[in-house]
Symmetry: D2
Subunit: 348 residues, 4 copies
């Protein structure tokens, strides 16, 4: 496979995650987009939707039913939550699938139903789905045909927390994740709350204690801890387009020190191309990862003994969505994991 | 006094808090700015520094030593931390003083010294200073000649926390304050970190566990709780000019419920013109207080039993600085507390 | 009238111009909002739509047909273009009307039809409408019951140009108006092009040579010049919420100098509370008028002899919309023209 | 040369153009940065200055005098205007030089002196300097050792204008260039006018008719026209970090039509990888070129007969600075011109 060019389909190509996949795939040496769907813009060229993509050699937008998706090597699902499972459920075996929606992330169907308010519609496929937090699930990703690409908040929250829970260095309660996101997380659908006038020069929290990413985060943390973990999670909307910062407050287990956390995270991620553990007490900024697949992590001692603060930043459209999706594709196709995924941020 | 016009001096009028005082005083019916100092711009008109103030009938900028400050009714100190105490210490008795620096906020000289790295330079004056969180210290403010106007973070953090600690409804530990501020908090001094290029489209935490506002916050919370309180406090810089949002995580005491917190805060602030307790589970936004002296507070239940989340927002230049300073002046002069301080935000 | 309180109705109160009227009217001493309509939100309180207006003593939103509009002293029309004329056309005589839409601005019905693609629907009323550029049309405004409040671009463009054309100091061709606007000009309707993600960190021109404000501008300039004037006009969308800057390129008539333009504008606007002609070669910024009804004007010599450049800035929601509407109401009611309309900008 | 790796030196690597060169060079297949100077940060690693560059294999910052610059294959000058000429003047023959300052752009020493207020300090070198607007000067660039890389405004203004003047399709007067730039154009030096608080949510013109880029623009236009051309040029500061939009107003020559302009520009740039002439009447946006070396051009008919409007956008740090510098290096080294210079914008 590595020497051939994989044919790529993008379902729902006209949102921001679709556009970001197209940006990244432009420099991928072993993949070629041969199918892009959009129910709303079928029949049009992509630059009618995204003028900045003009000049690219890309297929015309089509409807899902008009394409032979089974003949593709890889399918990226960039469809809205809820509709994805029907489409994926109906796909023939064959293509590797990376689904960026939330539909296949929760392993427990009952949890899915209570979170999303309706029964899961593709339980047969869901059983084989592998959670795609690449650094933590790489071996399983290599073997599956269906990756459930993680959410942006869960990616940013789990990367620092999971290794520490696995190593027993922090308590499972309290874990408080105060997360801040840019506006692209809300997608491209025109909504009053996403208008420039309603977002710029201001800040607010939303979905306090009720955000749908909470069960996804807890699933990963519980697995890492080997016991049920419940977290406090508060998302905030920040007047910027890209970027997530999670400020996570933890209590140290037993006699662990903040320096132990630092050492464990450094050990865990030493070989990882996309996760960087910064020097102790560093101050990562979202602008340092803008446009990249990087996650930067820093450990800070708490003001009180026995506490620590974890800072982690990602670009929600890259490591939090399309970049990690491509990373997962590379793993599934046994390609170099960094192929097509730069790490040079656009700053300023 | 109320029927006369108070003569006002502003020391250090060419920063953002000075400019904001001038904005508010323009509509104050019983005060007139007769002296404005600036060591750097002495001899110039204010619109050479702030073109948006052109057309106002304001005195020429002067040096501190050139003015007879003792003849003023009110002096606002908008000088940098550290230099203020010398100037205030040398002032003759007479004028009411509202000092916006941090110099007189900490009651314990040892704590001042450990926080600011040098002994306090005006201990005689400092003894009489009253902390100016108006809603909580009004009676003392009425009787003093020297108000130490609170910091922007401490104002936003203490307004929801103090009544709850006083009422014994929350535990004194853990209290985690995750605070987010706009850029005016950094002042008008040209610094690389305050450039548009370095701030916009990005986010980062700073001074994690070490911010100088922590002792000030703890002083207020300890007094409210009747015991020593230590908090976790993490400030973040948000790409907006005005506004602070504090997301505060608390544990409920005994059998208190989040609804009890809501009720207590409503009871406490029912008559306050500048503090609004929003309906349970509301989502206050900094843009809802932009340009006003308001603090909006909301109570949310935690995801876990026995926890709650407090959201509070202010405009850091108004309730977090110049607006509260003016509110304090009104109290000191026995004027209507809302005189010259509007509550209509500029939105969007 | 001045000693009474005028009852005010706002038709279409849930857009940005409605909210801005409510902000300004809060400090108006002789007016009280007694009716606010919204077809979409009828039956709800205004803070369900605009949380920042919570706490105001305002009437519940209603439908237009449910109100006795004829009993009001003043009606502000904040309805979309096209629908306004039907509503205004059906209003009984009685209330003073200030219409913020474009419906009554063009005096020539044929021009209206060619610009808006359909015949005017209220020609009877339209005949009595007076164009509401207050500084230039004050005498007519005083006598009418129906003011067509000017557009934001036309206000900003005409204030510097009309006096110069009247005085014969500039040629009628070429006049090139390169205008830049903030996003509130596009209103609050959710549109992809108004999303934070599509506006921030970028800039573009739109409606080049075809913007519907062009006939309105040309109508005013032609009247001032005493002959038909045709202009070049290019609007741009700037990533900010409020503010318009017009950079206007003109050729000097006969032997006029840029200094002559400066002198004429100073003379013309010397007594005006809301128009300030800055010193020769000044650089007005939109942030210097943010939240105010001010228009700042500056004259610059061109690089080439016989040319000049005019800079003019306004806040498009205030002098470009609701502030001027209130100014016109004050004129119609014979109230002090500045009542309820501050000039202190919110900066930064 | 193409098969070897060129050794690259960057003089003044700690400004935004230096950082941008480093971003681009990271993906250049035939170049390696072996020397980076910074008088202020000599002895430190680049990530002490730019944390987003951490993890790169880059040399320690040094002082200019400490390096053997003559041994380098290529030297990029990112030094401030004025000091560059001394450094470049003292360089031994050998390295190819691309200078990003304004020092070698003006061919006429008298014009340099009148523009910059002092005599040129390296006239010997200046004689051989070639102006580096790649698409228009490629043949000369190929043969020189010293390229004067164009300014950001001149690049954006000349690309649409020069071919039209050469072809005699537009008049040489009036040519009005109304230009709008992001804040990175002002560099990284801490200045009050570049603070987030002073730039965001606002807009203003500056250096009206006096900007130092005017002689540079006129030099290029005059050469294209074969006669002296004088332009009107007004720059504006827009609250965004990257991007320039030039809105240029021209008069058509003889019987030329706007469609003729469109055809000529399409013909001229058909083979160019970095210049795209959009379909007639398109609306290019700076966000469509963010992070890329692209210039997008659109032609619009004027509202009046015989007039046209040209829109051109670039990223001022890429095509307006470091990207074009790299493009010029590629030409000088006979490498593929697009090597290391992507065209995929980061949007949003």
């Amino acid at each position: 496979m590595a020497t051939n060019t994989a044919s790529i389909g993008i379902l729902g190509a006209t949102g921001y995650t679709g556009a970001e996949l197209l940006r990244l795939l432009a420099s991928h040496g072993s993949a070629r987009v041969t199918c892009m769907t959009s129910e709303r813009f079928a029949g049009q060229a992509i630059d009618a939707v995204f003028p900045h993509l003009a000049g690219r050699d890309l297929p015309t937008l089509s409807k899902i039913g008009d394409e032979d998706l089974g003949a593709l090597d890889v399918v990226f699902g960039c469809l809205p939550h809820g509709t994805t499972q029907e489409v994926i459920g109906a796909l023939p075996k064959g293509p590797k699938i990376v689904d960026l929606s939330a539909d296949f992330r929760l392993r427990d169907p009952a949890l899915y139903e209570s979170t999303y308010g309706k029964p899961h519609g593709a339980l047969a496929r869901q059983k084989d789905a592998v959670y795609g937090l690449t650094e933590l699930c790489r071996d399983d990703i290599r073997k599956t045909d269906l990756v459930a690409n993680p959410g942006c908040y869960p990616t940013t929250a789990q990367l620092p927390l999971c290794p520490l829970l696995e190593a027993g260095l922090i308590l499972t309660d309290p874990i408080i994740i105060d997360a801040k996101s840019g506006v692209t997380g809300a997608g491209r659908a025109p909504k009053e709350g996403s208008l420039h006038t309603e977002v710029s020069e201001g800040l607010h929290a939303y979905a306090v204690s009720t955000h749908r990413h909470i069960p996804e985060i807890e699933q990963g943390l519980s697995e890492a801890a080997g016991e049920a973990v419940a977290v406090t999670f508060t998302p905030h909307l920040v007047p910027m387009n890209r970027g997530i910062l999670a400020t996570t407050y933890v209590h140290l287990a037993n006699s662990a020190t903040p320096e132990d956390l630092q050492a464990e995270l450094e050990r865990r991620y030493r070989e990882e191309p996309f996760v960087r553990v910064l020097p102790f007490k560093s101050l990562p900024a979202t602008r340092h990862v803008r446009g990249t697949n990087r996650c930067l992590i820093a450990v800070h001692p708490g003001r009180l003994p026995g506490r620590a603060i974890l800072l982690s930043v990602t670009d929600n459209l890259v490591k939090g969505a399309s970049g990690q999706a491509l990373q997962n594709m590379n793993v599934m196709l046994d390609l170099p994991e960094t192929e097509g995924i730069g790490v040079e941020p656009l700053f300023p």
